[in-house]
Each structure stands twice: as structure tokens, then as C-alpha cells.
């Protein structure tokens, strides 16, 4: 890459003596795929975007949405017209003042060029018109009521129009590296090394809400968690965005290091083949899984607490619903759900009653049905293998047999989504901050039309509720619909949600203070604005 020119290196040399006084070095396992918001997929990119760009709204650390560029906003009674009043004082980091026109240009660009703005255009779906009424007011008119508007506007970045005006085709736009982005955020990108993944950010001294208290941020990529933890221990880095559960206890014991464990909405689930037997092509899973009794028995045969204790070393919570209590500050999780307890005796009773007879080989059968399942899991994470092994043991106690088998994610996607060639699959989801996405995963269309549905769950009532909640601008009404949907999933068990994994983070408490702990992570923009070095 041409991003290491010799000339700056030479001029850097004298400047090296006047290094920024406080550098926060952050270690993480990923790295941004690109800094071009039109075409970035990985969440690391979005972490950086949030630091260098501003949006109308933003999710606060308690899960609610607050204004960022917007001072305040309102929606018309029919839910179709949104009016935003902007704050004063934002300036681009090249010194020019920020104007409402520029933001409108940006949102329009995204809205109109859905091909070019591949990743952001879904946030403008249903937008009809975006205009300014005066220098500080923006009006968004939509085609239908949009329930999660705040969430959507929190991803509509105010990027500097001259940077993006010059592209005529989608491909040109997407190939743009955006290596020197101009933004209005609290930090300014200095350098992004595509090969090593190192991101250098300097504090924006002119930031509207006051300059960050640290002078520079460095994000460094580690492929190996041991190495990452070692680096923290010896002080080569100051903070980790994610500590593996297996190392958390040890890191806790380090000197001058503080750890944080926050409940999160990331969950692990057991997918039970729920594809309609009449589907074309016909699913090739074990037909016994269609029996609600078998599903219930399976749910009773999972010791979630054991998974939490052993696989996650206690750093997770047993799961029940696909919407975790941590999502949106707890607003969306259905508190009425009471989890199915681990009880193999109960599982045995259910299966006995349903007519599955224990065979001499320890596996129950009923007619042609035999309770022996493939238990597949992706090869990407070692926790799956651990869970699978334990699960196989529990199933045995209930007269069921699970044969753990590792698969490449690709093959697993191929066999779960289109054809339903599987029995049981272990996997995990990292849901969006808004419940919409994870709810959509279980809709029938998502399976039939080649979407995200890996369980093959099909329930017209659920599908209808899903469509409804999208347009319920009233938050409590939407909450009720979503609760209902959670219950359906919980009772039909296409997924048995196993655990919610905690967000485990850590930092050098001898160097920095002021981190805000939240499900957004201590690397959230709010948190990093609050961090200050210890003198």
C-alpha cells in the first residue's frame, strides 16, 4: 500500500520529541475492513466511524437514544414526518463549519444510491424525502411509519460531501479507501495501516462538546488472545475491548489492571431443525425433531448454568429469550419468560410419555424415529466444541444421542439456510442494538427467500407480528408485540438460547481513568471522551 510515504516519516522524526503526552493504546482482535462508510461490514469499522463522524442521534450508555447532531426531534402524529433541530458549533476538522445542507446531502446520497452505499442504505429504507427547512432544521418524510427511527439515524454519518461527491459509479465509490476522512467527531484519523490494522487517531481539540482528555488513540490488532493479554500485562497496551472468558480470572489478578464484565446481548443458541417437512427441497433432518415433546425434552436436557460455569468460567448468564435483558437497557426483554429448568428426569418422563422407548444401546426410539442427532457446530470458536461435548453427555442421560461434528461456517450456512440438512446446530448471534434484526431472523421469508433464517422456523402469526412491530412508532405498543414474539420462540423452541455472554473488558487502571462501563463497551465514544490519563 502507498500509505507509508517516506516524506512524512522523515518529517515525523523531529516531531517525535514532542509526542502527544497521553496515548491510549487499545488492543482488539479484529480490525476495520475499510474506513469507507459506503462499504464497511465489520463492527470495528463502525467503532472508528463513531469516533470520527457524528450522527443525528446516538445510543447512550444506558441504551436509550439521545441527540448528537440533533438538539431535539419530533415525529408527526401519523408517524411519517420527522423533524430534527440541529445543535450549533460543529465544525469539520479541516476548519470549515458544519451545515445542515451537508448532512441532507449525505442522507440523500445514501438514500438514492442504494447500490453504491451498500451497507448504509438499509438504514434509509422507507425514507421518501430529506430536506432542510432552515439552516438548523432537517425534515425526513417516510413512506410508512418507522418504529426504530432513532436507531436508524444513529448510523447515518455526517461525512464531508466533497470527499464523496466525486464518484460516478457504485464501484468507484466502493473502492474509495477514505484514508484521510474529514469528520466532525471527537477524534481525527491520522493513519490506518491496512496490513497491520493499526489505527492512529488524534484528539479533535476543537470538538464541540470539549476536546477529549487524551491526546491520541491507537488501535492495535492481535490475532492471539494470549499475546494480547501479555501485552496488557507488560503495559504495551492500555486497554482491551474484549478479554476471552478463559483468561478473565487471570487478568483480574494482574496488578494495576481493572476489569469490567457487563451483561450483553450476544447469545449462544442451539438451533433445532424446524424446517417445514413440506418444504421444497424437503429438509433432511431427523423427523423426530418435529415432535414438540422431543424439543421440550431437549430443552430440559441442557444445563445452562454448567455452560456458564465451565465454558464461560461464570462470565455469562443463562439465556432464555432471543432478546437479551441487556438489549436497549432492558426495555425489550420479556420478563414473563421463565426458563425451562435442567432436569433430565423430567426429560425422560416427557419422552416416556410421548412413547419413545429406551433401547438397549441407550437411545430411545419410537417406530422409525430414533433420537440420535447430528450436533454440528462451526470450527471458528473452541467454545462450541466444549458445549457440544457437554451437551452430548446430558442428552445421553435422557436417552438421546448427539454426535458432535465440527463444520466450516460456510458449509454450515449452506446446510442450514437453504436446504435444512442438519439436526442440531450450535451457533451464536451478535444482535443489533435494535430488536428488529434478531426478530427478523426467525421470520418465514428469511428462510424461503434465502435470508438469515437458519432454523427454518415458520409461524404466520409471528411473521405478522414482525411486520406490525416495524411500524409501531409507539414504543410501548412495539414492546408488547415484541414480547409476544419472544414467547412464541420460547415455546416453539426453534432456538434454545443457551447463554448471554458477558462483555469482558479491561484497562490499565494505573494509567487511565474515567471509562464508562456499558453494553456499548468501554471503547464507546462517550466512554473515550470521558477517559483521562492519570498523571
Amino acid at each position: 500500500g502507498g500509505n507509508q510515504p517516506a516524506a512524512p516519516a522523515a518529517t515525523n522524526a523531529p516531531a517525535a520529541t514532542e509526542l502527544p503526552s497521553s496515548i491510549l493504546r487499545i488492543g482488539w482482535s479484529g480490525k476495520p475492513d475499510t474506513l469507507n462508510p459506503a462499504y464497511a461490514f465489520l463492527s470495528e469499522s463502525y467503532t472508528i466511524f463513531h469516533l470520527i463522524y457524528s450522527t443525528l442521534t446516538t445510543q447512550s450508555t444506558d441504551g436509550s437514544y439521545v441527540g448528537l447532531l440533533a438538539q431535539d426531534w419530533s415525529v408527526s402524529a401519523d408517524g411519517l414526518t420527522w423533524t430534527y433541530h440541529l445543535k450549533d458549533g460543529f465544525i469539520w476538522n479541516n476548519g470549515e463549519p458544519f451545515t445542515a445542507d451537508q448532512l441532507v446531502w449525505a442522507i440523500n446520497a445514501i438514500m438514492k444510491d442504494t447500490e453504491g452505499w451498500a451497507t448504509l442504505s438499509s438504514y434509509t429504507a422507507g425514507f421518501k424525502e430529506v430536506t432542510t427547512t432552515d439552516a438548523t432544521t432537517i425534515v425526513i418524510v417516510t413512506e410508512y411509519p418507522i418504529a426504530n427511527m432513532d436507531y436508524r439515524t444513529s448510523f447515518l454519518y455526517a461525512f464531508y460531501p466533497p470527499d464523496f461527491e466525486k464518484f460516478s459509479t457504485a464501484e468507484e465509490l466502493q473502492n474509495f479507501g477514505n484514508d484521510a476522512p474529514i469528520g466532525t467527531g471527537p477524534f481525527i484519523l491520522k493513519n490506518f495501516d491496512k496490513d497491520t490494522g493499526v489505527v492512529l487517531l488524534d484528539a479533535n481539540k476543537e470538538y464541540v462538546d470539549g476536546a477529549p482528555k487524551i491526546d491520541r488513540l491507537i488501535f492495535q490488532t492481535f490475532d492471539n488472545t494470549d499475546a494480547m493479554v501479555q501485552a496488557l500485562k507488560v503495559g504495551d497496551i492500555d486497554m482491551l475491548t474484549s478479554v476471552p472468558a478463559s483468561a478473565f480470572e487471570t487478568v483480574k489478578g494482574f496488578e494495576n489492571v481493572k476489569t469490567t464484565a457487563i451483561h450483553n446481548s450476544y447469545f449462544y443458541e442451539l438451533i433445532i431443525n424446524s424446517v417445514d417437512p413440506n418444504n421444497d427441497p424437503a429438509p433432511t433432518g431427523n423427523p423426530a425433531l418435529a415432535d414438540p415433546a422431543v424439543r421440550l425434552a431437549i430443552a430440559h436436557s441442557i444445563n445452562k448454568q454448567d455452560i456458564v460455569d465451565i465454558v464461560f468460567q461464570g462470565l455469562a448468564a443463562p439465556g432464555d429469550s432471543i432478546i437479551a435483558p441487556a438489549m436497549g437497557g432492558g426495555f425489550w426483554h420479556d420478563p414473563n419468560i421463565k426458563d425451562i429448568p435442567f432436569d433430565t428426569a423430567e426429560a425422560n418422563r416427557i419422552l416416556d410419555k410421548a412413547g419413545y422407548v429406551l433401547g438397549s444401546d441407550g437411545v430411545r426410539t419410537k417406530g422409525n424415529l430414533r433420537l440420535e442427532f447430528r450436533l454440528q457446530f462451526p470450527s471458528t470458536l473452541s467454545v462450541y466444541a466444549r458445549i457440544a461435548d457437554m451437551m452430548a453427555d446430558w442428552f445421553k442421560q435422557a436417552g438421546m444421542k448427539a454426535n458432535p461434528e465440527t463444520m466450516d461456517e460456510d458449509s454450515l450456512i449452506a446446510s442450514t439456510t437453504a436446504v435444512g440438512d442438519y439436526d442440531l446446530v450450535l451457533w451464536s448471534w451478535e444482535p443489533d442494538p435494535d430488536p428488529d434484526f434478531i426478530l427478523s431472523v426467525l421470520t418465514t421469508v428469511q428462510f424461503l427467500e434465502g435470508g438469515w433464517s437458519d432454523s427454518g422456523y415458520h409461524n404466520p402469526a409471528y411473521d405478522q407480528l414482525y411486520l406490525d412491530q416495524q411500524q409501531l412508532v409507539d414504543k410501548t405498543a412495539r414492546q408488547q408485540a415484541i414480547w409476544k414474539m419472544q414467547e412464541m420462540i420460547f415455546n416453539d423452541i426453534p432456538y434454545s438460547v443457551l447463554v448471554y455472554e458477558d462483555l469482558l473488558q479491561t484497562y490499565r487502571s494505573d494509567r487511565f481513568t474515567g471509562f464508562i462501563e456499558s453494553p456499548l463497551g468501554i471503547e464507546s465514544t462517550q466512554s473515550l471522551l470521558n477517559v483521562e490519563p492519570i498523571k
Binding site: D226, S246, A247, T250, I310, S382, A392, D393, T406, D408
Partner: protein, 318 residues
């Protein structure tokens, strides 16, 4: 066939007599044998099943527990006994090693003999194939192969894929070795004599070629087994093994993945490595010694220091 039996016993005895003198060979034999015994009698040697979770009084899994009376080598990240996994792991490692070794040996010997004995086009083909395979870096090729084969819906255990890939890639060195040996044997006068007597190809290969190269094949197989075990552990370490089988490579994969180093859980990452070294070293020692016994060619050594070449002087000096 009384005399044949007597002959066999005599040959065996003589082999043992020569072998016994070789300390390294004995050590190698001991290492391999213990591993085989451990694998065979794994259930008798282990206090736990390899997947069993060891729990404290509250029923909580004991993860990363250092060695204690409960778990002689401590527990891993999932609270399972390292010792038990180690012993059961011998099964996977040895099975993969032996099977892959045998496949490689079989193919290699077959091609080596055919190419060496008949020469001509088949020989040319073999040499070109091995020439090509020899310079393609083996691990990347193997990784690519294993990864792609696993992608295809073969419905076999990843270990089977491993066995075949290793076996099908590692026969070339054997084939070349056997071929060159067969080439020299073929030129020996006793083969020409046998032909002149009127013996056919099958007779010559069975009676004159095979017995000559058999020890070489054995020695080579032992070496390939060690290679196969190393490769299996390597691929498992890179995550291409079967994580549900407690193989040594898989244990190291978990150890590395699950922060054993950070946790200071040396009992987790040291033993599997030692086990691999144990077996491969055993095989290497055994193989080298067998090879040496077969062709003890280096007798002369013209620079070996010979301080007391002249004993007279010394005696006078005393």
C-alpha cells in the same frame, strides 16, 4: 515347515541380539511401545472419561485446576482431566499416524517396486510425479486440501480426511527410496541369475526383491508414522482436526485458544507436547536404528582421532 520356523526364530534372535546392543533403539522401542500400550489400555489407565467434567463439592466444574490428587495432571479449560485426555489422545494420534503411515507405505512401496523393477514409462511417470510433489510446499498444500475436502459433503470424520491426505501425500519419499533400492537390487547378479534360471517377475519380486527391501520399508514406515503424527498434531493445532476427539494436537489447539499460557496452566500445554515428542522421538529413534542396522555402511572414518595408535610409546612412557 519346521526348518522355516527354526530359521525364523534364529533370524529373530539375531535381530534381537543386534538390536539389544543399541541403546537408542531400545529407548525408541520403549517409547513407542508404551504409547501403544497406553492407547490400547486407555480405560484401565485413566480415572475419568476424557470428556468427563471434574467438579468441586458444589458441583461446579473445576476449570484450569493445577495437578492434584483428583486430577494427576490438572484440568483444562472445561474442567476435564488432562491425564485422561492425554491417554485417550494417544489413540487418535497413533491411529492417524499408523493408518496414514501404512497408506503411504503401501502406495510408496507399490509404486517404488513397480517403477524400480519395470522401469520405463511407469518409472518416468513416478519420477515426474514425485519430482513435482517434492517441491510443492507440503503443509500449505495439505492445509488447502484438508480445508477443501472438509468443505465438500463427504460425511466422514475430519480424522479420516487427515489420514487420507497425509497418506496420499507422503508416499513419494518412500517410493523414491524403495525405487532406488530396487534399482540397485535389480542390477545385482543374483537377480540376473534368477532370471537366467527362468524365474518370472512375480517370483523375482517376491523372493528376491521384497525380502531385501522389507526392512527398509519397515524403517521408512516407522519414520513416516512419526511424520504423520507430527502433521496430525499440527493440523489439529491449526483447527483442522476433530475437536470432539481428544487428540494431542486438539488439546494444544484448545490450550492455545483458551488462554492456557495466560492462565499459567503449564499442565495444560506441556503434557500434550511431551506426548507428541515421546512418540515421534520413539519412532525416529527406532527408524534410524533400524535403518542403520540395515546398511551399516560408514565403517571407515579417516579422521577419527587415534591418540593411542602407537601403544608402544605409551607403555614406555608409563
Amino acid at each position: 515347515m519346521n526348518e522355516n520356523w527354526a530359521l525364523f526364530k534364529r533370524n529373530l534372535f539375531e535381530f534381537w541380539k543386534a538390536f539389544r546392543r543399541n541403546k537408542l533403539g531400545l529407548l525408541g522401542g520403549f517409547l513407542v511401545l508404551t504409547a501403544i500400550l497406553a492407547a490400547t489400555f486407555a480405560p484401565l489407565l485413566t480415572p475419568y472419561a476424557p470428556t468427563e467434567v471434574i467438579r468441586d463439592v458444589n458441583g461446579r466444574g473445576l476449570t484450569f485446576a493445577p495437578p492434584s490428587v483428583h486430577a494427576p495432571l490438572g484440568t483444562d479449560d472445561a474442567g476435564r482431566d488432562i491425564w485422561s485426555q492425554l491417554i485417550y489422545g494417544a489413540r487418535v494420534s497413533l491411529a492417524v499416524g499408523f493408518l496414514a503411515g501404512f497408506i503411504a507405505m503401501f502406495i510408496g512401496s507399490l509404486f517404488g517396486i513397480l517403477a524400480g523393477y519395470f522401469g520405463g514409462r511407469i518409472d518416468n511417470l513416478l519420477m515426474r510425479v514425485t519430482d513435482v510433489l517434492l517441491v510443492i510446499p507440503d503443509l500449505p498444500l495439505m492445509l488447502v486440501l484438508v480445508a477443501t475436502l472438509r468443505q465438500m459433503d463427504l460425511h466422514v470424520s475430519p480424522l479420516v480426511v487427515l489420514v487420507f491426505v497425509i497418506g496420499l501425500l507422503y508416499w513419494t519419499s518412500t517410493a523414491r527410496l524403495i525405487r532406488s533400492q530396487v534399482l540397485t537390487i535389480k542390477e545385482r547378479q543374483y537377480v540376473a541369475r534368477s532370471r537366467a534360471i527362468g524365474a518370472g517377475h512375480v517370483h523375482i519380486i517376491r523372493k528376491h526383491i521384497l525380502p531385501q527391501i522389507m526392512p527398509l520399508i519397515v524403517a521408512n514406515t516407522v519414520l513416516i508414522i512419526s511424520t504423520a503424527i507430527l502433521i496430525e498434531s499440527g493440523l489439529a493445532f491449526l483447527g483442522l482436526g476433530d475437536p470432539t476427539q481428544p487428540s494431542w494436537g486438539a488439546m494444544l489447539n484448545f490450550a492455545f485458544d483458551r488462554s492456557a499460557v495466560t492462565n499459567g496452566a503449564w499442565w495444560f500445554y506441556l503434557p500434550p507436547g511431551f506426548a507428541i515428542v515421546w512418540v515421534t522421538l520413539g519412532c525416529v529413534l527406532l527408524g534410524n536404528v533400524l535403518e542403520d542396522m540395515l546398511n551399516p555402511r560408514l565403517t571407515a572414518h579417516h579422521l577419527e582421532s587415534n591418540q593411542n595408535m602407537i601403544a608402544i610409546q605409551k607403555r614406555e612412557g608409563e
